[in-house]
Symmetry: C2
Subunit: 364 residues, 2 copies
DNA sequence: GAGGGGAATTGAAACATTTCAACACCCGCA
DNA sequence: TGCGGGTGTTGAAATGTTTCAATTCCCCTC
């Protein structure tokens, strides 16, 4: 139990000189079956052109030799590939891991293989991955962009790569996109807190270069104004560099140090909220008694936290599926293709982490 | 808020006749720069052979034309590719999404691209993906196998594809493997419960065709015997077909119907435990007062459940990283390569979901 | 002024496919 | 007997690279 960091390495027998030197090619199959190269290809790609008898012969040669077609070579001549790239901002986040299954199931059905990349919110790493994916001649790319600028994605599209924005709208609709209305999400959260009577709320946001973050802030401000408050007065925003539980803890510390401590906190995602809740408990501050907390994304376990987390639900499964569908139709629509934007609406899920502020002030 | 299922589709302007017809190749670059094809290739692959002046000329032609190398063609001639396949059992599970980052970061550093596949525990789907990955000539495959049989993986290895078992040991060490000792994990959980005084525990297990499940059961039985109990008496095992919260709820229902209701439940993973906790609360059964619960995996949010979940921690980050490292050395070790198995030890994390049984019976 | 040697460049073969025009064969019909 | 028309099959070109032996060029030395 204590040697968790000291894995037991067990080097065991078995040097393998067995690695196949050279792979078999269709030429070998053709020779073995006594037919021409073209016929083997036809058996594989247009069997209706080949006589029954010949087909059987070729197929049994394939099986006998253990021939495995070479997809790259195939693609070289044939053109399009059956591969799509997925570039997410943080592969480990529950948010993306709840989107991925929707993507995967849809694309697997269409026989696509997924190349999954994590930009870790770095535009450089994103650029590197995009370049690499383009070199691999993927049929399309699903991406949740790291930065605000998406010119490079439009250019990519013009070079013939299908592009669908995930969780983000394009500018001037030059790209297909699937997104959730983040302004609305921020508004819902703010509206909920303000109408509970909160007059000053902390906002643990991500960098505003991330579009989602900027949008949610806008929604939050809108809700404040609608409640008759000055956003700059009512909202104390802190920019986190890491959007996980750790970030939530450091953000909370800053908010508590504030001379005008807020009575509620809106967190940019559920992981941040988790950190806040965890730290509130450690500090002996009651939630929601002394401090209300709202999360974002409504990941699967949000309902199971203590207290159960009020959050903004994103239809993640649908998001993934819709994106995959858009990409697939993008392929099919050979020429005159119209860019589509699908916008889902988020939903406020009220649970146990929000309540009116301790000394319910001047409610409007 | 109510139209979450009715996304607003906004078809907008922009049919693009812009799609590039034919891609440029190195031949075009060569022509533009006034050099031969071979020189362009050298600039890209062995710049030390090419004169400064020429390099500059070629590079500026590449930039001017917007040339993008063709990775498949490259691979065709060059041999090995920079792609690895990852086949997990359930892409959406928090368990795998906590392993993936470790893999990704390590392999990204080595300039590999990840093809991620989800077998959904179906050997057929797994076989399909393995075939497809092999056709793509991936350099290697990291896999958490769906079934017990891994002969096909050994064969794959012999055909020259690097294979590393993830979260599972091979038989007779014919493959590299990274795993956590599951027998030990089951033992830890059982030992904890039995020494708390529980004499009958429910075990929500997965299908025993899954090796991990069989191993954990073995550990659990071992702990029972060590506590002087007959495993068949002391353990009431239920096989779940789906290992998520839903499965946990249905499993709990069965355990409660049992004429000899257990006083504790050991769940095959944390998601199942989540379902159990959720349903216990719904039924008004106190945890851990009336029913103790132990999870497995110790996913990130286990500590945040209510009550905080006692669980078996797997070093997931390290698991991913170690697997990636093993695969990379597998590539480098050209010939006489020794298969390595790295076994991590799990750790019991005691939190608030376990306690002595209500009427502490005859403690040994 | 001839020859040697190193650096830079070239040309062609090779990689494993797909595609397509051309060919062979067989059958029925005039 | 010759001929048209399928149906199957073939051969060769094309795809975008890498690799490597061969070649050119230039400078230096004797």
């Amino acid at each position: 139990m204590s040697d968790i960091d000291r894995p037991s390495k067990t080097s065991t027998s078995g040097s393998d000189g067995e690695r196949a030197r050279t792979r078999l090619s269709m030429v070998d199959v053709a020779a073995h079956a006594g037919v021409s190269l073209g016929t083997v290809s036809n058996v594989l790609n247009r069997p209706e052109l080949v006589a029954e008898r010949t087909q059987r012969r070729v197929r049994s040669s394939i099986a006998a030799l253990g021939f495995v077609p070479n997809a790259p070579a195939r693609q070289l001549r044939g053109g399009r590939s059956r591969t799509v790239g997925v570039v997410v901002r943080e592969i480990g986040s529950p948010y993306f891991s709840e989107i991925l299954p929707g993507l995967e199931s849809k694309l697997a059905k269409e026989q696509f293989l997924l190349m999954v990349c994590s930009s870790d919110d770095s535009p450089d790493k994103e650029a590197y991955y995009l370049k690499t994916l383009e070199e691999h001649r993927v049929a399309g790319i699903l991406i949740s962009p790291a930065g605000d600028d998406i010119e490079h994605l439009i250019a990519l599209r013009q070079r013939g790569v299908g592009v669908v924005l995930l969780d983000r709208l394009g500018v001037g609709s030059q790209l297909c996109a699937v997104a959730v209305n983040n302004v609305q999400g921020g508004d819902l959260a703010g509206d909920h807190l303000f109408s509970l009577g909160h007059r000053r709320i902390g906002f643990l946001n991500g960098p505003s270069t991330v579009r989602q973050c900027a949008d949610r802030r806008e929604g939050l401000h809108r809700a404040a104004r609608r409640a008759g408050l000055d956003p700059d007065e009512a909202i104390s925003e802190i920019t986190l560099s890491v959007l996980n539980a750790q970030g939530g803890e450091t953000g909370l510390a800053q908010l508590l140090d504030d001379e005008r401590r807020p009575s509620a906190i809106f967190c940019i995602n559920d992981m941040v909220a988790v950190g806040v809740l965890r730290d509130l408990e450690k500090r002996g501050i009651a939630a929601p008694g002394e401090m209300s907390v709202v999360g974002y994304d409504d990941v699967e376990f949000a309902a199971l936290l203590s207290p159960a987390l009020t959050s903004i639900r994103m239809p993640k499964q649908q998001l993934g599926q819709a994106a995959a569908e858009l990409l697939v139709t993008d392929f099919r629509a050979d020429d005159n293709h119209w860019h589509q934007e699908i916008v889902f609406q988020p939903e406020l899920i009220i649970r146990a982490s929000t309540a009116p502020p301790p000394t319910s002030g001047q409610a409007s």
